[in-house]
């Protein structure tokens, strides 16, 4: 099993709806990051939440972190067709000093116009 597992693997919603993606991980972490990737393109950093934070907002994004459950969620409110992409969580395990980041398998989000 792997550090950073997202669910669902794929999500299809209508424009204007909210999209929630979840991430679970196995080891203690320093921080957790969410990235977006459009098909075949680079990774765009969305938001970073540190292990001592529980919730963070950035525009239409809301991220929560529950270190007791080793899980995080990413909420995109009022989704747009342009939000169609793959979303990955990535963790910095506590014992790696920031030198290693582990990505999950990602959630593919499709927002229908």
């Amino acid at each position: 099993s792997q550090q950073g597992e997202e669910d669902p693997q794929a999500l299809s919603i209508q424009e204007g709806e909210n999209a929630t993606m979840n991430c679970s991980y196995k080891t203690s972490i320093n921080n957790l990051q969410w990235y977006r990737q459009n098909s075949g393109r680079g990774l765009v950093h969305l938001i970073l939440i540190r292990s001592n934070e529980r919730e963070k907002h950035s525009g239409r994004l809301r991220v929560t972190l529950d270190t007791s459950k080793k899980s995080s969620s990413l909420l995109i409110t009022a989704s747009r067709a342009a939000d169609t992409a793959s979303y990955f969580c990535a963790t910095d395990p506590r014992n790696t000093g920031g030198f290693k980041t582990i990505f999950g398998a990602g959630t593919r989000l499709f927002v229908k116009a």
């Binding site: 990235y35 680079g42 990774l43 970073l48 990955f88 920031g98 990505f103 398998a105």
Partner: protein, 114 residues
């Protein structure tokens, strides 16, 4: 806004050939990383580099791989003898002096091994 750049955007090579992928990290960043993503799969950590040496590497990063920071700006990944299974997108990333801040990723190099 400063960004990480990578060249080339696409590299095609024959199996057994050496390739060098190049990255220019953001200028005041101190931590450098290489990742790869096989088509349709997740992003995999390869190696991190700090203070002119490898800090951490994954099991993927075997003797066929090496990294260098030959000057103050470039960060390279060399694959000595490419295999078919090395075909992937390779991403470079850099971080500033706080190792727990966000990483900034380059656009990637698509490596195709024939």
């Amino acid at each position: 806004e400063p960004e990480v750049t990578q060249t080339p955007s696409h590299q095609v090579t024959q199996m057994g050939q050496e390739v060098i992928l190049r990255c220019v990290p953001i200028s005041n960043h101190l931590y450098f990383y290489w990742y790869r993503q096989i088509l349709g799969q997740k992003v995999e950590f390869l190696v991190s580099f700090y203070n002119n040496e490898i800090s951490e590497k994954s099991e993927i990063f075997d003797d066929q791989f090496s990294v260098e920071r030959p000057d103050g700006s470039n960060f390279t990944l060399k694959i000595r003898s490419t295999k078919l299974e090395d075909s992937a997108m390779y991403f470079c990333a850099s971080r500033d002096r706080d190792a727990y801040n966000e990483q900034f990723f380059g656009p990637g190099t698509r490596l195709t091994v024939l």
